[in-house]
C-alpha cells in the first residue's frame, strides 16, 4: 500500500521565477548555443570534426536557466560531459555489436561515474548515449569525442555562462568551481 501511496507525491512545485530571470535565461542560452553552433557550422564545416551535440541543449537549461543548481556548476558541466563521453565511446567500442546493450551500459555507467566523482550533470547521460547512437560521424572520432565536441563545447558554453550570468546584479555564477 505504501508503495502505491508514494506515487501520489507529497509536496508542491517550486515557485515560478520572475520575468527578469526568464529573460536572462533566454539571453544566456541564446548566446551560448549561438557561439557553439557558429563554430560548428562556420569553422569546422569542412573538417570531420563537430562542435555541437544534442546534449548541449540540455546543458543550456542548467547553466543559463538554473544557475544556482549544484548540477549546473563548472565541475559538473565539464566533468559530466567529458567523463560521460569516455564511458559512451568505451561502451560503443566494447559492446557496439549489441546496440541496445551498449546504449544502456553507456548511460547507466555514466550516471554511476558522475555520482562517484561528484560531477552529476544530467546532459552527460545524453553525451554518453550519443557516443553509441550518433552514427558513423561520431563513431569515427573514437575517444577524441571526449575532447571535441564534448569537452571543448562544454568549455565554450561555460565561458559564455561566466560572461552572461554575472551581468545582472542579482545573478552570480558559479556557486563553486570544484
Amino acid at each position: 500500500m505504501k508503495f502505491f501511496e508514494k506515487m501520489l507525491g507529497h509536496t508542491q512545485s517550486p515557485p515560478r521565477v520572475g520575468a527578469v530571470e526568464i529573460l536572462w535565461s533566454w539571453i544566456g542560452s541564446f548566446a551560448g548555443i549561438a557561439v557553439v553552433a557558429l563554430i560548428h557550422y562556420n569553422l569546422l564545416d569542412r573538417t570531420a570534426l563537430s562542435m555541437i551535440i544534442g546534449s548541449f541543449g540540455a546543458s543550456a537549461v542548467l547553466i543559463y536557466g538554473a544557475i544556482r543548481s549544484p548540477l549546473a556548476q563548472p565541475r559538473n558541466l565539464i566533468g559530466g560531459h567529458v567523463l560521460s563521453a569516455v564511458i559512451g565511446v568505451a561502451a560503443f567500442q566494447f559492446l557496439g555489436q549489441l546496440p541496445w546493450l551498449a546504449s544502456a551500459a553507456a548511460v547507466s555507467t555514466a550516471i554511476a561515474l558522475m555520482h562517484w566523482t561528484k560531477t552529476l550533470h544530467p546532459p552527460g547521460g545524453a553525451t554518453a548515449l550519443i557516443a553509441v547512437i550518433g552514427g558513423d560521424s561520431v563513431h569515427q572520432l573514437g575517444y577524441l569525442y571526449a575532447v571535441i565536441p564534448a569537452g571543448l563545447g562544454a568549455l565554450v558554453m561555460l565561458i559564455i555562462a561566466l560572461l552572461i550570468n554575472n551581468i545582472a546584479p542579482n545573478r552570480r555564477y558559479p556557486e563553486f568551481w570544484f
Binding site: 507529497h10 509536496t11 508542491q12 512545485s13 517550486p14 515557485p15 521565477v17 520572475g18 527578469v20 530571470e21 536557466g65 538554473a66 544557475i67 544556482r68 543548481s69 549544484p70 548540477l71 545582472a168 542579482n170 545573478r171
Partner: protein, 201 residues
C-alpha cells in the same frame, strides 16, 4: 512540562508557504522542493541545537558562589542574609566547607503552611485563617533543620542542556556547582539558564 518533553522541544517549525515565500524572494530557480528543504532544515536545526546545548557548560554561565550559609546558622541570620542580598536561596555547607544542602524561600514557605508546593499564596490563605504570624515557630531553629538535603549538585563541566533537564526533572530552581571535594564553586539558577538560551528560541 517535564525533562522528557523539554528534550523533545520542537524547532521553530517552518511551513511550505514560508519556504515558497523565501524561494520567491531569491532570484533564480532554486533546485529543491519545499518538502526537501524542510527536511534539510529540520535535521540541520536539530544538529545546531544539540551543538549549542553542549557548547556551553555550567562553568560558562554560573554565578560564582558568593553567599554560602553555614548549616548551624540560625534562621534569623539566614533569612536576613537572603533578604539583604536579594537572593531567594543559597547552598548550605558544613564546618569543612562541603555542601550539605540547599536552603531557599520554598523551605521557609513549607514550614509556614505552604504545603509541599511551596506556594506563597497558600501561606497567605493559611495566615488569614489562623491567628498570629506563622513564622514564629521557626525561631531558634537552624538552617540544618529546614534545608533541602541531600543537595542536588553537579560538576562545572555539565552542559546547559543537561542542567535544563535536571532542573525540570527535580523541579528545582538552582543547581549548586561543586568541585571534586564537594565544596561549592558556583550556582546556576533558572535565570542564568534563560540568559544562556537567548539564541535557542
Amino acid at each position: 512540562m517535564n525533562a522528557a518533553n523539554l528534550r523533545e522541544c520542537a524547532p521553530v517549525d517552518i511551513s511550505d508557504a514560508d519556504v515558497m515565500a523565501a524561494m520567491k524572494a531569491m532570484q533564480g530557480y532554486i533546485d529543491i522542493t519545499p518538502a526537501d528543504f524542510r527536511e534539510v532544515y529540520r535535521v540541520a536545526y536539530a544538529l545546531a541545537q544539540e551543538r549549542m546545548l553542549n557548547a556551553l557548560k555550567a562553568a560558562d554561565i554560573m554565578t560564582p558562589t558568593v553567599h554560602v550559609l553555614d548549616a548551624d546558622a540560625d534562621l534569623i541570620a539566614a533569612a536576613t542574609l537572603l533578604a539583604d542580598k536579594g537572593i531567594s536561596g543559597a547552598p548550605v555547607t558544613d564546618s569543612d566547607g562541603r555542601i550539605v544542602g540547599v536552603i531557599s524561600e520554598k523551605d521557609f514557605l513549607r514550614r509556614m503552611g505552604a504545603g509541599p508546593g511551596g506556594s506563597f499564596m497558600r501561606v497567605i490563605a493559611h495566615c488569614l485563617k489562623s491567628k498570629g504570624c506563622v513564622a514564629t515557630p521557626m525561631a531558634g531553629r537552624t538552617v540544618r533543620d529546614i534545608m533541602t538535603a541531600p543537595p542536588i549538585t553537579a560538576a562545572a563541566d555539565i552542559s546547559i542542556g543537561a542542567i535544563s533537564a535536571l532542573l525540570m526533572e527535580k523541579n528545582i530552581n538552582r543547581l549548586p556547582i561543586v568541585d571534586a571535594a564537594g565544596k561549592p564553586v558556583g550556582i546556576v539558577t533558572r535565570s542564568d539558564l534563560v540568559n544562556s538560551f537567548c539564541m535557542l528560541g
